[in-house]
């Protein structure tokens, strides 16, 4: 069922708001004064303090520690609720059971309000109530106060870096070194020295509790015992966080639990180095550093796969990166002293320089760690218009409106004729407007009837991402809450996350988000106006069956199976990479095929030829996701994208609400190696390429910008070697044939493709004044040599130096200069998996 989008606010909206505001005040605070004495239990009832990351940033979630006391002889249920001076009508609370004669520490998330740019603190006020009573009764503390005032310090400077370090009371030289290294790293990045030390033994659960931090440094293993805390870190990392693990101080178990199947490392041994010989692993050639130490620097020798090693020592990784969803993980296996040096007395003239200076290798690594968090893949602004398309109610039918208008005309004509005959035509001045008003009233009543006939509904557009290697998912999206009548909204969550309605017009009403358990919350007194109100959602959780797409290559393309999505009826399935998209045929048993002949054109996002309204919406969402200018890095790895009905993410609404919408699910593809000797076809989206130095020593030109994924416009001849990367899972591979497809625009004059067959560069094809789509079949495997790490080289050159007039303008004639540009260049390969080279 679908509805048309249309909404008109009623004229009496504001009076109704006022009524509900008054009701809300009566509900939440109105009873306080009359009941306060009854509620008194005669004790210092509560204390609030910072919790978790202890970093508070406007408009971001934080955590609040609440210590509650039950001095009575019976168990109590208390409600602690907190609001900020800046936004007194928005409260966040925790309802908790407390045994008799006891003190309990608990916590709850809290959304920080927007405060002035120069404000250094958030002033908050907490109230405690007896939650067992039907009416809310404030409890007075021993000292007679009904409310507790507290202050949370605003994070002084962004980004915020947090450190999980040892909880030992006496810090060791090692833990001090870890701290000093983080401080030096911040200073190196022109940030202040402030590092948030996470001193709680257990971290808050929920990804939102880490929202205020930008980098998390792990230098202690205690989080291994904190399953919920570790899950929160993992989800935060995959959502765009930056984590730095100092493996010399951390059990590898932390990485195993954090990354799940994505971690493939084993410690060989641990040693102490008095001479550190470090080498850069950059493609441009390894720089080397050597440093002597009196005190050995810890070094963990480990074997590791599927990571980007940035620096190594004697061939062992000293620092490596791993892309984790939208986030990045840095692991250092060398102790802190190996990355920094103590500043000489002559260097520390400025007090903010710090005691230590980073050595060159870490100076090189740090910028990527302190890079701003990436923006959302699908922002609220992108999703909301599409969500609204699901929302609406039917307007009076054309027939009804037409009939009324025709009736009006007929009546006007009849009355006009009769009055004309009666020579009382002046009466039309009264009858005409009267009839018009009557018909208008009838239309309004019909419209109102239509609207009130539509039930309350919830529409959602969700984007769910499976976290690779784990059972976790992360979801974000927007929800439209449509109510035919004003009232109080029922909004609750049972599995964590949050759903934050747009609060326009509700500032005068006291609303409260109350947590009753881990991940369980509900809104109280949330005003619901007639019409549509949007809300944003974010949730992360664990699925009972892991959602994963396992795929391999076959003679017709990619084949695989989607796991964990049986209940979601996937449709409009696409295999997407940064380099293109392939339409996927999925079967009932969730096996799928992405054939080589289903590669999409640049404008194509769905397989279907004739798109339905729903598919048009889906296409638009995919377009925004895959061409988001802020996120050109997405997708970093091949993703199976599919659509389904909205998922149950644990959010609860009014029982009478109907549900509409859609969910886009992104599942990273886990590649498996096909058996030896399998014929495989690799289509262009799975063969990324970059410009590289040629085997003949030719330096790459700026023809192809791999970072921006664009071909540059050229007016002069230009050439570059391209290195096509064959999926590592297929290596070693015997390439049998290839097809290069290329489109050029503009007066290129001459286009040439060449390959390298030792010892010569051989031109494979030359086109003169090419037009349209060009194809080149390379059937001689001698031109298709693959390096051990899966690189295949081809040279492309454009431009005709013999005909400069094609592009060079004759300035005397004031002609504009012409440019040529390669628009599309793709390669498709066919080959056969080969055996690993046998040991000699």
């Amino acid at each position: 069922m679908s509805f048309r989008r249309q909404f008109v606010r009623r004229n009496w909206f504001w009076p109704r708001v006022a009524i509900y505001a008054i009701c809300g005040w009566l509900l939440l605070a109105g009873h306080v004064e009359s009941e306060e004495i009854k509620g008194r239990v005669g004790y210092s009832i509560a204390m609030v303090s910072p919790y978790g990351v202890d970093a508070y940033v406007p408009n971001k979630w934080g955590s609040l520690n609440v210590q509650l006391v039950n001095p009575t002889r019976e168990p109590l249920e208390l409600l602690s609720t907190t609001y900020f001076e800046e936004e007194p009508t928005l409260q966040f609370g925790r309802r908790v059971w407390i045994p008799a004669r006891s003190r309990m520490e608990t916590w709850h998330p809290i959304l920080m309000p927007n405060i002035a740019a120069d404000a250094k603190r958030f002033n908050l006020r907490s109230l405690v109530m007896d939650a067992q009573k039907a009416r809310e009764v404030l409890i007075r503390s021993d000292s007679g106060y009904l409310q507790l005032d507290a202050v949370l310090r605003r994070a002084e400077a962004l980004p915020v870096t947090a450190l999980i370090d040892s909880l030992e009371e006496s810090p060791t030289a090692e833990s001090e070194a870890a701290y000093e290294l983080v401080v030096a790293s911040r200073l190196q990045s022109n940030l202040n020295q402030q590092v948030k030390l996470l001193s709680d033994r257990m971290l808050p659960t929920g990804e939102e509790s880490l929202q205020a931090i930008d980098q998390l440094v792990i230098a202690d293993s205690r989080i291994v015992d904190d399953g919920a805390g570790l899950s929160a870190i993992r989800r935060w990392l995959y959502g765009g966080g930056r984590v730095w693990v100092m493996l010399n101080r951390v059990d590898p178990l932390v990485l195993e639990r954090l990354l799940g199947d994505e971690f493939s490392g084993e410690v060989v041994d641990r040693t102490g180095l008095t001479t550190v010989r470090m080498e850069s692993s950059s493609a441009s050639g390894g720089e080397r550093w050597s440093q002597e130490y009196e005190q050995p620097v810890d070094f963990v020798r480990m074997v590791i796969s599927e990571v980007d090693v940035a620096y190594s020592i004697d061939g062992w990784p000293a620092a490596f990166w791993k892309n984790c969803g939208e986030g990045r993980l840095l692991v250092t296996t060398l102790g802190p002293q190996g990355w920094m040096r103590r500043r000489a007395a002559s260097e520390t003239s400025a007090p903010d320089q710090g005691k230590y200076a980073l050595l060159a290798p870490l100076q090189d690594l740090i910028p990527a760690l302190f890079m701003p968090r990436p923006g959302p893949l699908l922002s609220e602004e992108m999703l909301e218009p599409q969500m609204r398309e699901y929302v609406g109610y039917s307007i009076p039918s054309r027939w009804l409106v037409g009939s009324l208008l025709i009736g009006l005309c007929v009546l006007l004509a009849v009355f006009g004729f009769c009055l004309w005959r009666a020579h009382r035509l002046e009466l039309m001045g009264m009858i005409g407007p009267g009839l018009g008003l009557s018909v208008s009233l009838a239309l309004v009543l019909a419209g109102q009837h239509q609207r009130s006939a539509v039930p309350a509904s919830v529409t959602s557009l969700q984007f769910v991402q499976a976290v690779p290697g784990t059972d976790d998912i992360r979801a974000q999206g927007v929800v439209g809450l449509f109510a035919p009548e004003a009232g109080t909204a029922n909004l609750a969550g049972e599995r964590g996350g949050w759903l934050m309605p747009e609060m326009t017009g509700l500032k005068g009403t006291t609303r409260r988000m109350v947590w009753t358990d881990l991940g369980t919350w509900h809104w109280e007194n949330l005003l619901e106006t007639a019409g549509l109100r949007s809300a944003t959602l974010q949730q992360s959780g664990t699925t009972s069956e892991r959602i994963e797409a396992r795929a391999t290559f076959g003679p017709t393309g990619v084949v695989g199976r989607l796991h964990g999505a049986a209940g979601h009826a996937p449709s409009d399935v696409v295999l997407a990479t940064r380099d293109g998209r392939i339409g996927v045929n999925i079967h009932n048993d969730l096996t799928f095929v992405a054939p080589t002949d289903s590669v999409f054109t640049a404008e194509q996002y769905l397989s279907a030829g004739l798109l339905t309204d729903e598919q048009i919406r889906r296409r638009r969402t995919l377009l925004q996701l895959l061409t988001n200018p802020q996120r050109r890095d997405y997708p970093g790895s091949a993703q199976l994208l599919f659509w389904s009905d909205p998922w149950d993410l644990g959010f609860r609404f009014s029982e009478s609400s109907q549900s509409f919408g859609a969910t886009l699910v992104a599942v990273p593809v886990q590649w498996e190696r096909p058996p030896l000797g399998t014929e495989v076809a690799i289509s262009a989206p799975l063969l990324p390429y970059r410009a590289t130095k040629g085997p003949d020593g030719e330096i790459p030109s700026a023809l192809w910008d791999a970072k921006q994924h664009t071909w540059q416009e050229k007016a002069a001849p230009s050439a570059t070697w391209l290195r096509f990367q064959i999926p590592s899972v297929l290596l070693p591979l015997q390439v049998q044939r290839a097809r290069l497809t290329i489109q050029v625009a503009g007066p290129v004059g001459k286009l040439e493709i060449a390959a390298y067959r030792e010892p010569d560069v051989v031109t494979l094809k030359t086109w003169i004044d090419p037009v349209g789509t060009l194809e080149l079949d390379i059937t001689d495997p001698g031109f298709l040599n693959v390096s051990a790490d899966g690189g295949l080289l081809l040279r492309v050159s454009g431009g005709d130096s013999d005909r400069p007039e094609l592009t060079d303008a004759d300035l005397k004639l004031e002609e504009k200069r012409s440019f040529w540009q390669i628009e599309v260049l793709t390669l498709d390969l066919h080959g056969k998996t080969a055996a690993y080279p046998k040991p000699e």
Binding site: M104, T205, G227, D261, D269, G272, T274, L518, E672
Partner: protein, 582 residues
């Protein structure tokens, strides 16, 4: 950096840990007399357990999680009888409605409580409720040797689609339970170059744990070719982890010469475990390796099979850049010097190193010869008092105290006087402070009366003079005037001992107990009432109190009741009682 080293050196010398397996420049005052503080006991409120159990029984996942985690932590701290929580924890673990975070915490608590009776339930939930639980539970099931899980692990080894971490859990589990039937599959994983390096190495390590024989050929195949990778060679060593046969030794001997230090170190370690004689031919070369673990294996071989010639080679490593290794060599040579046929070789080699210019060698040789009471080294020790390396000048001062050669007293006194002037000029050097402390101990023990005035300068509080030098001076004065009631000195000492703890600047604890000990040595009968008054009604489990008890016993012969252990109450739990125990 040197400051840090010295500080760590000092801090590591605990009053209650005087047993010196490792030679270090310790203070005589710390073991003369021995003041043993009773081990503190941890106390817990009896009201905690019922509170936590009541919270654990609640339906809220948050309370279940926090209670389970608290129970696990409290059990680790020694709270008794928390195993009573096991039935409730099992209930949480097995209930379908339990939230994942609560189930994880409850499962972990059962593991910490070592609740083996819950193994079957833990096994079931680990297979039903996700990878995080499997990672938590399966290593414990391996430790508990829970047999039903073995078939699951075997299946994973066989199945092509097994996920990476689950495969590793199976590999580790089968290795830990020494399941011999898994060896063929594990071996095939070890040899499968398509597997990740981590998988191959883990598989090899597990096979090595299971089998003590018959893997020589596999190790040979993995490691013999020129194209064998580091992982191949590491796997080969891992396979032979429990092998002792001659073919295994041959493979290991070849790998012990590997250019890759991680391979060589592992092979040498195994060879040393089989028979040090196997390593002896390789040891000298190993001791020249860049890699400290490789050098260490060479040291172990020569230390276990010593000859006078090998002692000389070993002694060269007294100057090793790695502090732990040169310390190991020093201690090994100390042990070897107990053998009559090697004693002179050790002393000669150490003397040679002592005469050298390398500060590391000077430090270690000083410590070694000091510990060996090698009196001919005394003049060199006097020279080394002037070293610009803190480690050496401290070791030299310590060595002179150990040798106690009276001829060195003028030099010691002169150096102590010189360093005192430096300290009073606000030198603010920990190294000088520690050197002076060792020199004062030497002067006191040898009762060098001309130093009396110098030592007395350290009695009053002076911010320029540190804790160690002042306490050593007071302790030294006690020895210097032992049995001679020196009333003015006793009054000064008792003032240091009994100064109000609220005084600013505060008096060092070390100074207080050194004063008490010296009062005992002086037989200062007149000061006993003040000491008793400061002591209070009972002896406390703190070192000052124990020193007073010792002193009173020395002076009067009265042995006061010993201190009761300190009760440390652990607080800060998420849920605590408002009431004290009855």
């Amino acid at each position: 950096m040197r400051f840090l080293v010295c500080l760590l050196l000092v801090l590591s010398t605990s009053l209650t840990m005087l047993a010196a397996d490792e030679i270090r420049p310790d203070f005589a005052m710390e073991s003369d007399p021995v003041l043993k503080i009773p081990e503190p006991v941890v106390g817990f409120s009896k009201k905690l357990k019922p509170l936590w159990l009541s919270a654990l029984a609640r339906p809220e996942a948050d309370l279940q999680r926090l209670s389970a985690d608290t129970i696990a932590q409290a059990h680790s701290f020694g709270v008794p009888e928390l195993i009573e929580a096991a039935p409730l924890l099992k209930k949480i673990v097995t209930a379908d409605s339990t939230q994942p975070v609560a189930r994880f915490a409850a499962a972990r608590a059962l593991i910490v409580l070592d609740a083996k009776e819950a193994a079957s339930d833990l096994f079931d939930v680990s297979q039903q409720h996700g990878a995080d639980l499997r990672q938590l539970i399966e290593p414990t099931l391996a430790k508990w040797d829970f047999k039903p899980i073995r078939s699951v692990w075997q299946r994973r080894l066989n199945a092509k689609e097994t996920r990476h971490r689950e495969l590793l859990l199976a590999i580790h589990g089968l290795g830990a339970t020494a399941d011999d039937s898994a060896v063929p599959l594990l071996l095939s994983l070890t040899q499968d170059v398509q597997q990740t390096s981590a998988t191959r190495l883990a598989a090899a390590r597990s096979v090595g744990r299971i089998r003590a024989a018959e893997l020589e050929a596999d190790a040979e195949r993995l490691s013999q070719t020129k194209s064998a990778t580091i992982v191949d060679r590491l796997c080969a060593v891992a396979l032979l982890d429990r092998h002792t046969t001659e073919p295994a030794q041959r493979v290991l001997l070849r790998l012990a010469r590997d250019l890759e230090p991680s391979v060589a170190a592992a092979a040498l370690t195994r060879l040393n475990a089989i028979d040090h004689d196997l390593v002896v031919p390789l040891a000298e070369k190993a001791m020249q390796n860049d890699d400290a673990p490789v050098r260490q294996q060479g040291v172990e071989a020569f230390a276990a099979r010593p000859t006078p010639e090998r002692v000389a080679v070993l002694a060269r490593l007294l100057d090793d850049p790695h502090p732990k290794l040169r310390g190991r060599v020093r201690d090994a040579l100390f042990d070897l010097a107990k053998k009559p046929d090697l004693e002179s070789a050790v002393r000669e080699s150490a003397t040679l190193t002592l005469a050298g210019e390398q500060w590391r060698g000077q430090e270690q040789a000083t410590l070694l010869l000091g510990a060996l009471n090698h009196k001919p080294a005394a003049p060199r020790f006097v020279n080394l008092l002037e070293s610009d390396r803190g480690e050496v000048m401290i070791a030299a001062a310590w060595g002179l105290r150990k040798l106690a050669v009276r001829e060195t007293l003028p030099a010691i006194f002169s150096k102590a006087t010189q360093q005192t002037e430096a300290l009073l000029k606000n030198a603010n050097s920990t190294e000088i402070e520690l050197q002076v402390a060792h020199l004062f101990e030497a002067l006191g023990l040898m009762q060098h009366l001309p130093a009396d005035v110098l030592l007395r300068r350290y009695l009053p509080k002076d911010s320029r003079l540190g804790e160690f030098s002042r306490s050593a001076a007071i302790w030294g004065l006690g020895h210097m005037h032992a049995g001679r009631a020196d009333e003015p000195l006793a009054v000064l000492m008792v003032e240091r001992l009994t100064e109000s703890p609220a005084a600013i600047p505060f008096e060092f604890t070390r100074v207080r107990w050194a004063s008490a000990v010296s009062l005992g040595r002086l037989r200062a009968t007149s000061q006993v009432p003040r000491m008793r008054e400061f002591l209070g009604p009972a002896v406390s489990p703190v070192v000052t109190s124990l020193a007073i008890r010792w002193a009173i016993n020395e002076i009067t012969g009265e042995l006061l009741p010993n201190a009761k252990p300190m009760v440390i109450s652990k607080t800060g739990w998420f849920l605590e009682s408002l009431d004290n125990d009855d």
